[in-house]
């Protein structure tokens, strides 16, 4: 409950400061407060209080962010729907979440089959940011992630989960103030967006968004320079895009640069750190199930950093998050041993939305520090060191077997990158015509002769780990979350063979 009081208080105490910078236009907290209030009125007029889950069309405008805060102050949960997502998938989400009402700032309703609150057409009302008194066990949002069977999985996050995240984030003591200019590069269907708008709002800082029709990486570079951004949470893919231009990037104003969502290579971070001479760089980690992120590692620009196969450590658990590493029998492993990372604590989702089967697979109880505690299996293979810093090794399901031998694709990638220096490469496993598994290598590069590389790899790895097929792509495609789209690359490789 306190979190929502804090939102109210922060908006009120920064009423003349800029809250958002969207597509070249700045909006003050006063405008934000007025827009939130209008939408609150729209919600309470159009719905009954027991209609808990309300859709929000994820546009890039003030009304969309105001709709989220309005729903929270009304004690409701938001379910973001991207107008760019295929219609069938959105319909699936609407059905699963049981949505009857949607808040839409578009000129023409994107989902006319639902009751639409047209957020751009509401009448002005007196400002009211006083949050309704609602239990912290109620939901704040539901995000849908891709499921293995093509049916998106709903991850409900409670108000207590979000509060837990914010309190743990505060524990970093990052000193973000009303003077900060903060990047929000994520689609609202991706939970890294929640930190990117909520942390600035709680500090009276300004949120800088990326217009949907812009080229993301070059727009980010432009904002960083022209608007002198001071706080940025990014996915590492942005660094891969910007790498050819690092020598031109100089952002001395950047104070905090966080990375999440993908493995963060240490070499590229070392290069990037020169572009932001005054920034603290952090690698943070966490699945949607554990609310935004839940472990952190401070990059040290003056000394060695912990890494495994060139991938930076994901560090330690945030406040009130528990991390354990287990073996296949759910036995907790000591430091130094490799197993599946499991997460518990205040940020953990109550479980997948109406999906008992997946819940049984992914969650379990175990005695932790003398108390029965619920944990989530991340599917990430990890190891922690004696100091408790966690090293990410690979996805458990990226572990493949070649002729019965266990092979980590990330190990192949590591040796490729070590030899090729600046060329990005990914390894994929595929089934050949005889039904055996082979390994393909895909390079983010123009074609080159791979003979020397293969020779090198053969000096590093047993024969069964040597890739048999190669493909060159000038740039790696990203999926909608901004991560390298491994599945698409694999498909391209298969088409070539």
């Amino acid at each position: 409950m306190q979190l929502f009081k804090n939102i109210e208080q922060s908006i009120n105490s920064h009423i003349d400061r800029n809250a958002f910078f969207i597509n070249g236009v700045a909006y003050t907290y006063k405008q934000f407060a007025e827009t939130i209030s209008k939408i609150r009125k729209g919600i309470s007029s159009a719905t009954k209080e027991d209609e808990k889950n309300i859709g929000v069309v994820a546009n890039d405008d003030l009304e969309t962010y105001a709709a989220i805060i309005a729903l929270w102050l009304e004690g409701r949960a938001y379910v973001p729907l991207s107008p760019e997502t295929p219609r069938q998938r959105n319909e699936n989400v609407i059905k699963q979440a049981g949505l009857d009402t949607i808040i839409d700032s578009s000129a023409n309703a994107v989902f006319p089959e639902l009751k639409v609150i047209e957020s751009k057409k509401l009448d002005a009302v007196p400002v009211d940011l006083n949050p309704k008194n609602v239990s912290d066990e109620e939901l704040a949002y539901i995000l849908f992630t891709s499921g293995t069977t093509g049916n998106p999985k709903g991850v409900p996050i409670t108000r207590a989960n979000v509060t837990g995240f914010i309190e743990a984030f505060e524990d970093f003591k990052l000193d973000i103030t009303k003077e900060d200019r903060c990047l929000q590069m994520f689609e609202l269907t991706f939970d890294l967006s929640v930190m990117s708008y909520l942390v600035p709002i709680l500090k009276g800082a300004c949120v800088y968004t990326i217009p949907k029709d812009q080229i993301k990486y070059s727009y980010i570079a432009e904002l960083m320079e022209d608007q002198a951004l001071t706080v940025a949470l990014m996915v590492p893919s942005i660094l891969h895009f910007l790498r050819p231009y690092f020598s031109e990037v100089n952002c001395p104003k950047m104070r905090y640069n966080l990375f999440c969502g993908e493995a963060l290579p240490l070499d590229i971070t070392n290069e990037w750190s020169q572009c932001l001479p005054n920034a603290k760089i952090m690698n943070v980690y966490g699945p949607t199930e554990d609310t935004i992120f839940c472990t952190f590692y401070h990059y040290n620009r003056n000394a060695g950093n912990k890494s495994h196969h060139g991938i930076m450590s994901i560090g330690k658990a945030m406040k009130e998050t528990y991390t354990i590493i287990i073996d296949a029998d759910k036995k907790v492993l000591p430091a130094g041993e490799t197993g599946e990372l499991c997460l518990g604590g205040i940020q953990l989702t109550p479980g997948y939305w109406k999906n008992e089967e997946k819940n049984k697979e992914a969650f379990f109880h175990i005695d932790y520090k003398g108390k029965p505690t619920r944990f989530y299996k991340t599917g990430d293979l990890c190891r922690s060191d004696e100091e408790g810093d966690i090293l990410y090794l690979s996805r458990l399901d990226n572990q493949i077997k070649i002729q019965g031998f266990r092979v980590e694709l990330s190990e192949i990638e590591f040796f490729c990158k070590e030899f090729l220096k600046k060329v990005n490469a990914i390894a994929v496993a595929f089934e050949n015509k005889t039904g055996n598994t082979e390994i393909g290598l895909i390079f983010e590069s123009a074609a080159f002769d791979t003979a020397e590389l293969m020779k090198y790899l053969k000096t590093k790895m047993p024969a069964y780990m040597i890739p048999t097929q190669t493909l060159f792509e000038m740039t790696f495609p990203l999926n909608s979350n901004g991560k390298t789209d491994r599945n698409l690359l694999k498909k391209k490789l298969l088409e070539k063979i």
């Binding site: 029709d213 080229i215 990486y217 070059s218 320079e225 740039t475 495609p477 990203l478």
Partner: protein, 82 residues
């Protein structure tokens, strides 16, 4: 110096080869969002294609100035004249 029309034609060919269709017109006010499939990834491929074809490298500052097709054509003109 390369003729403007010649530059336009070469850029058009590069865009077509990346987005794999010709459903756009090379107007000066054409922006990426007008062209189906012109996203961050294909943008990078188009930029690389232009760099290879015309034999120069864009600076990051140049990329940020590319607001539409007109500014892209103009930039290629300037760069190739240098």
């Amino acid at each position: 110096m390369m003729e403007r029309n010649q530059i336009i034609d070469e850029i058009r060919k590069i865009v077509v080869s990346v987005v794999k269709h010709e459903n756009f017109q090379m107007r000066d006010d054409l922006v990426a969002a007008d062209v189906d499939g012109w996203d961050s990834l294909s943008h990078m491929m188009i930029i690389t294609g232009i760099e290879e074809k015309f034999g120069f490298k864009f600076k990051l500052k140049d990329l940020n100035k590319l607001k539409n097709m007109g500014s892209l054509i103009e930039m290629v003109q300037t760069k190739t004249a240098m």
